[in-house]
Symmetry: C2
Subunit: 360 residues, 2 copies
Amino acid sequence: MSDSRQIIAGDVPALMRGCAVLGTGGGGEVYTGSLIALDALERYGPVTLTSLAELPGEGLLLPLGMIGAPTVGVEKLPAGDEGSRLRDHLERHTGRRAVAVMSSEIGGSNGLLPIAWAAELGLPLVDADSMGRAFPEVQMAAQYVAGLPLDLIALTDACGSVVLLTPSTPEWGERVSRAVCVSFGGTAAMADYVMTVEAARGAVIEGSVTWARAIGRAVMEADEPVDGLLKAVDGVRLIDGRIVDVERRTTGGFARGSVLVEGLGGDDGRLVRLELQNENLVALEDGEVRASVPDLITVVDTATADAIATELVAYGQRVTVIAFPGDPIWRSDRGLAIAGPRAFGYDFDYRPLERIHARA
Amino acid sequence: MSDSRQIIAGDVPALMRGCAVLGTGGGGEVYTGSLIALDALERYGPVTLTSLAELPGEGLLLPLGMIGAPTVGVEKLPAGDEGSRLRDHLERHTGRRAVAVMSSEIGGSNGLLPIAWAAELGLPLVDADSMGRAFPEVQMAAQYVAGLPLDLIALTDACGSVVLLTPSTPEWGERVSRAVCVSFGGTAAMADYVMTVEAARGAVIEGSVTWARAIGRAVMEADEPVDGLLKAVDGVRLIDGRIVDVERRTTGGFARGSVLVEGLGGDDGRLVRLELQNENLVALEDGEVRASVPDLITVVDTATADAIATELVAYGQRVTVIAFPGDPIWRSDRGLAIAGPRAFGYDFDYRPLERIHARA
């Protein structure tokens, strides 16, 4: 087993699986991200995993990830120099030295690409992220729940353009970042909630990388991968079945749509519909909510428990849909106001997963 | 007569007329801009007109203006603090002190608003601009003709968001700025080609403010305003008539469309069509080009010679369409590549106005 304080190539298979599960369909498909991370680890060597407590407080933290519709990201790959370009511009702009990279969201390839950027920049990777999962919008971050101002976002494309954005509100941060990302061709590399290590302490979700790796290992080590996964994440099996319909469009910088899963075996005759905006947002059955944001809803391959990204779900896939609770901050009043069902335009109140399924 | 080295309230009527003529329909209607300039001159006192030669070379030059569809700008006014916000962010970002404001384009209200910003910031206004007229796109600037890099654009909205953009090419500068401006609601205040005074020397069009004021005065002092205008700008009268059709839409951050002018009096039976993208780009008659960018085409009121902005032209207006040559840099090969007919997607080569009308 590898040193838990380092990320080496041998960690990538577990991380890839864990990040995909935490992506709830979003954050970008993990296969390409895993190849990019492996390539960087081979070229630059292992990445040190650190905590905010160990870093100098006045240093600059780089919370990095890709923004855009994953349906675009699956075809339009990063150029590779995005991380160093964001670092250079942010160091010059803030007059501070970058001391660590962090995943802005641990879900999907956004949990893997920061490994590559950290390796390339020779910086440690903080064992934390801004979401504890993947969310589609820029302002849906733990720092916003913690009440920190969103006063610096940086975006860059594969050609070299750089935008530094100071939005009037976090919601304007999303709106303008999305427009920039669309103008860049549909995806962009982004540093979101750029701040000092000191400001980030207590305001991000710590342990995310270790958590993703643990989920991946549990899946890989289990005889029955889906059972191993459910046990690891304390999850609920929403349905076993196959995908019988996918409606998906790329619009306004997002992938939006719905996926219909028809039950098989013990679930024969059931139909569960997932609604998605990059990530799976809501699971519905017979007009009832079976799970919703901010709880995590993930579609996995029934045989391998590999999570399937929203841009890769397809008719006929044999899947199991699971749901599990995320970081407790999202269940707070403020967390729900920022990333609960109503934040996505749904006209219902959030009910915790356990309560829905205790009743059932 | 006022001191030519100062701009006072008494200069505004002439400047308003001259800027409107140089706007070739674009740069924003001048009435609101003139009220904003008058208000600022009253509150903060006269603005000193200066040249780049008189300013410290290492100081920061702020080339300011509004970007967006003038059809939006006519309803959505600036909040008033855009100039100081851009100055503050740019000083902090570059580590340089702003020493002067310049119009990014002398045409339309973009020739007037910088007076207000200079007054408010207590900075001199450089007697120069980046275009010698108005052009619809960010990269269509004298600095680009001069081969200077476009490495810093700043945009802000009325709510306080700020974007600093370093584009990979000047054309990407236009593309991303336009997307930001649309996300801001259709207009934005912009500092374009932000650079030191030293870098700007020899790379901008000097004398623009004086030129606009001189045009306005010529119109105001002439017995026959249109004749006075034509004499002042060495222009050609394309047609006397009235507007019989306007097709105008706001799309992608621009006002686009066409205007049809039917001849009256000596021009009876003639029809001239203007095509526009914020500015008037081309005048056509019987399928022949009668004038085109980068030469200036302006629709003026036949009685007063007041230029009519593209967002305000309307059916039935009694107008004279004039055309006149702009700054010689636009007729260079590089100038034509950046802002000639082909740069706007037209499949014909530029022919100088004098040559078209010598033949006629």
